[in-house]
């Protein structure tokens, strides 16, 4: 008898290899399909609010690592506050006036 077959070995579909670059876009789609942002607000509709006001980055060029740092920090704060029981409405903004755009145009 093969005793190894009688052990309760772990079993899961959760893969060892993350393959994040391939999998993450599908996760974003799933979040958008379920309207995760809207569902979170609904879920905490009667909870006290935690209001983070987004500082508008300048609407010029692709994002750099500093933009990523800033938006991820904000997202960490808000997701934590949401889990901790707050309503966390968050409206992102962009700064659209000014010289850099005028000069580009």
């Amino acid at each position: 008898m093969e005793y190894k077959q009688t052990l309760n070995l772990p079993s899961t579909d959760f893969p060892m290899r993350a393959r994040l670059p391939e999998r993450e876009p599908a996760a974003i789609e799933a979040w958008e399909r379920m309207d995760i942002y809207g569902r979170m607000q609904e879920h905490r509709a009667s909870a006290p609010k935690f209001l983070l006001h987004d500082g508008p980055p300048y609407a010029n060029g692709a994002i750099h690592i500093g933009h990523a740092l800033n938006k991820i920090l904000k997202d960490i704060v808000l997701k934590y506050k949401a889990l901790a029981g707050f309503a966390t409405p968050y409206r992102p903004g962009w700064d659209c006036h000014g010289l850099p755009i005028e000069l580009q145009v």
């Binding site: 005793y3 052990l7 309760n8 070995l9 772990p10 079993s11 899961t12 959760f14 993350a18 994040l20 670059p21 999998r23 993450e24 876009p25 996760a27 974003i28 379920m34 942002y37 569902r39 979170m40 609010k49 209001l51 983070l52 006001h53 500082g55 508008p56 609407a59 010029n60 060029g61 692709a62 994002i63 750099h64 690592i65 933009h67 990523a68 740092l69 800033n70 938006k71 920090l73 904000k74 997202d75 960490i76 704060v77 934590y80 889990l83 901790a84 409405p89 968050y90 409206r91 903004g93 962009w94 700064d95 659209c96 006036h97 000014g98 010289l99 850099p100 755009i101 005028e102 145009v105």
Partner: protein, 805 residues
């Protein structure tokens, strides 16, 4: 033009929005606010009306930071200080005809010695400033004598060829004496100002009120004009025929040459110094007096009120308070106007009949109404008559012929009033944001302009707390630059590693300082990511057949080991909650790493494996381990969700048989884990500390045996512990079987021996044969006819399993 600007902005809003979404950031992406939205522009016009209402807005000819290359005024926040090479000169201002206190020394050909690093501003000189609290001396210098601060004489003796001191004066004795401009046929005069210091120069400061803030302030108390004979492109006007049309910085050497020709150049040298540059074009800027609109810092006590509000705000890190306090305390009035096209106009009209300028809340509110439906473009597109409220006329002459003001508002006023256009619009007029979170350059940018705009019209700060982060540098701590080739883009990291690795990097940094990133740093983070992932996978895998509804084991029934790890889980959750509350995410990262790699992977998982794999599927001890692991997994996935959002959601959706409470559609619809009070058992925690220390010793002893080739697996041993006292009682409490489990050995024997003070560890050969199923050397192996290779425990498991279909 304005149409094209709108389209251009739209294009990049779209690009950046997609990039932010790719980071896993949740937001109202389909409803962002844009400062060019009609509703925003209208709100900004109403905020301007509110500012006008306070009486703090004024228009005056004043020196402002001016970029000659961009041909516009710049805000404080748009100025960067950088090293710049200038010619500095010592110049004699003839004082032979000054009279007054200098009259007795007219024969010594007296002159006032000044020092400047901007020779090109000398054509605009109108005065020489002395410090009212200093003593000044007249000193022989070759064929003439020079006046300078007494304290500066020794340092300049060689440079200026100074000889005998002829006389000493207080500054007050010299006030208002008339000097001659060094080459232009025009007087200059001695004035007094507290801004004069002894840091450099002669203690006598060349004063051109049209080209410097301090000069302007002190000049206006003496009624001096803000004279600046330089055009928008930084070229001398016809008022300075000797340099007409020349760019000011290029005129510097010619000025020096002219000074030398006139015999008034005392010395010159090149210096490197910190000098303001345009943040856009990086070129050195000038101070230039022009007609501009200002928000007064003194009217209505705006400065004092803003300073008081700063102290009501929580600044994270706390040095942010010092920084913004110092800036607000010392800043000049806010120059709100820009000579550009793409923005929200300063709503004012020029009367064509009497030349006066009309700016009123009524006018601004009327414009706001137009902006609401057409945007600020209406100001430039509409007929002038349509910009006038009904019955509007010049308040000075009653005239009705107007021309529109063409200056636009500083973009920092745009973003500064977002608290109104965005937050108050949505949440009501009394709302104050809980948090503003930006880079540490915003103390002089957005935090600053928002504070002033809000205090001016609401008398309160628009935020309760302000958090700032540093800047991202490369692995060696250098600024990233395209030319240096050390730029690391978020897009690259996402493509190679994924957004969760970037998010983990953000959490791992102490963002209060500047942050570093490099391939190596990201690789290290990918390693700790894998540890968390494997930990989670291990938990998920062992829960495959666990149903919390039917298999749950109450806490009081759990084995000591499980209660210990739940105690650690309590600590982990509490630490993380505190760290999140204090915005110290790097502490979450460290707690996570420790918990996964030490407590879980190298202790709990290793030990509990036998129970999970070998015990009967439905046995109490196996269900106990699963109950424990279920709680660990539920806590872990929620603690990491704000950081590793993608992975947390993936784990969440892989949890088998989650209980009804834990079955939300997304981990983000769940609650942060509660650290259960019953998990805390300080006595037990103390006991376990002793056990872990002993386990370390046992492991070392096993290692030695393994190295010597005496044993293979740790299960091929029996450990004998001999000792006495309270230390030994702890071991007895857990029992020999419990210790064997913890040490992962086949048997532990406890020998109480009062003659032994400190514990003795012996590793010897096991008794009994090795079980083919669990590898433990145990009694019973060989005694079961149906399964001679199995120990009693495994035999019972197999027989029971065979009995159930």
């Amino acid at each position: 033009m304005r149409r094209k600007c709108r389209d251009y902005a739209d294009r990049f809003v779209g690009i950046q929005r997609d990039e932010f979404r790719r980071l896993g950031v949740f937001a109202q992406w389909d409803n962002p606010y844009l400062t060019k939205d009609f509703s925003f522009e209208a709100c900004e016009a109403r905020e301007l009306a509110a500012v006008i209402e306070t009486g703090g807005l004024y228009r005056r000819r004043k020196p402002v930071h001016w970029c000659a290359s961009c041909a516009t005024a710049l805000a404080e926040a748009e100025v960067d200080y950088d090293e710049h090479r200038s010619i500095s000169v010592y110049v004699a201002f003839p004082a032979e005809g000054a009279g007054g206190a200098l009259a007795p020394y007219a024969g010594s050909k007296p002159a006032v010695a000044i020092w400047t690093t901007t020779p090109w501003t000398l054509p605009a000189n109108l005065a020489v400033a002395l410090n009212p609290h200093l003593d000044y001396v007249l000193v022989e210098a070759g064929e003439r004598s020079l006046l300078l601060a007494a304290a500066m004489v020794e340092g300049l003796r060689d440079k200026l060829g100074l000889g005998r001191t002829l006389a000493t004066f207080t500054a007050a004795e010299l006030e208002n004496l008339e000097l001659r401009h060094p080459w232009i046929d025009r007087p200059s005069r001695i004035i007094l100002g507290d801004h004069v210091t002894l840091e450099a120069g002669t203690g006598c400061v060349h004063t051109a009120p049209g080209h410097g803030h301090d000069d302007f302030v002190v000049g206006s108390t003496y009624g001096l004009e803000a004279y600046a004979p330089v055009d928008a492109r930084g070229r001398f006007s016809a008022e300075v025929p000797e340099f007409e049309g020349r760019f000011v910085f290029e005129a510097d050497p010619a000025v020096v040459e002219l000074l030398a020709e006139r015999g008034v150049l005392l010395a010159s040298e090149e210096i490197e110094h910190s000098y303001p540059h345009c943040w856009r074009c990086k070129k050195p800027i000038i101070f230039r007096a022009t007609e501009q609109w200002f928000l007064s810092m003194e009217d209505n006590n705006l400065r004092a009120r803003a300073l008081a509000e700063i102290d009501r705000v929580q600044w994270i890190p706390d040095w942010g308070r010092e920084r913004i306090y110092g800036m607000v305390k010392n800043r000049p009035d806010w120059c709100l106007s820009r000579q550009r096209a793409w923005g929200v106009p300063i709503i004012a009209l020029h009367c064509q009949d009497c030349g006066s300028i009309e700016s009123s809340a009524e006018l601004a509110l009327h414009a706001a109404g137009l902006f609401e439906s057409e945007g600020a473009d209406a100001w430039f597109a509409r007929e002038i008559a349509e910009l006038l409220p009904p019955g509007f006329s010049c308040s000075s002459c009653g005239g009705v012929n107007f021309e529109r003001e063409r200056d636009i508002l500083d973009v920092w006023f745009d973003s500064g009033v977002s608290f109104s256009a965005v937050m108050e619009s949505e949440f009501g007029s009394g709302v104050i944001s809980d948090l503003y979170l930006e880079g540490s350059d915003q103390h002089r940018g957005w935090f600053h302009s928002a504070l002033l705009a809000s205090v001016a019209t609401r008398n309160r700060a628009p935020y309760k707390a302000v958090l700032t982060h540093g800047f991202v540098l490369d692995g060696e701590g250098r600024k990233m630059s395209k030319s240096f080739g050390n730029v690391i883009s978020p897009q690259d990291i996402i493509k190679r590693y994924g957004a969760d690795i970037l998010r983990l990097w953000v959490a791992a940094q102490d963002y209060r300082e500047d942050l570093r990133i490099s391939d190596e740093i990201v690789k290290r983070l990918a390693d700790s990511y894998r540890r968390v992932r494997n930990t989670s996978r291990n938990l998920l895998g062992n829960l495959a057949d666990f149903d919390p509804g039917t298999d749950w084991v109450e806490f009081s029934q759990l084995p000591e080991l499980d209660r210990w790890i739940l105690g650690r889980l309590h600590d982990f959750i509490s630490r993380c909650r505190e760290a999140y509350d204090a915005y110290e995410f790097h502490l979450v990262y460290h707690a996570l790493n420790n918990f996964c790699s030490v407590e879980l992977s190298s202790l709990y998982f290793d030990i509990v494996k036998d129970r999970l794999y070998c015990s009967a599927r439905d046995s109490r001890e196996r269900r106990a381990a699963q109950t424990t692991m279920y709680q660990i997994l539920q806590a872990l996935v929620r603690v990491v969700a704000p950081v590793m959002s993608f992975t947390a959601e993936e784990i969440w959706k892989s949890i088998p048989n989650a209980s009804a409470d834990d079955r939300a559609d997304s981990v983000f619809l769940s609650d942060f884990p509660a650290a259960e009070e019953q998990w805390l058992d300080r006595d037990s925690a103390g006991r376990w500390e002793g056990i872990w220390k002993l386990r370390g010793e046992v492991t070392r002893a096993l290692e030695e045996k393994r190295r010597d080739g005496e044993i293979g697996h740790s299960l091929d041993t029996r450990v004998i512990l001999s000792g006495s006292g309270s230390e030994f009682e702890v071991l007895e409490a857990l029992g020999a079987a419990g210790l064997a489990e913890v040490f992962i050995v086949s048997e532990v024997e406890l020998k109480r021996d009062d003659s032994i003070r400190s514990l003795l560890v012996e590793v010897v050969a096991p008794r009994g044969e090795k079980c083919a199923r669990c590898w433990i050397h145990a009694k019973g192996v060989g005694s079961h006819d149906d399964h001679p290779q199995l120990c009693d425990r495994c035999h019972a498991v197999i027989v029971a399993a065979a009995g159930t279909p």
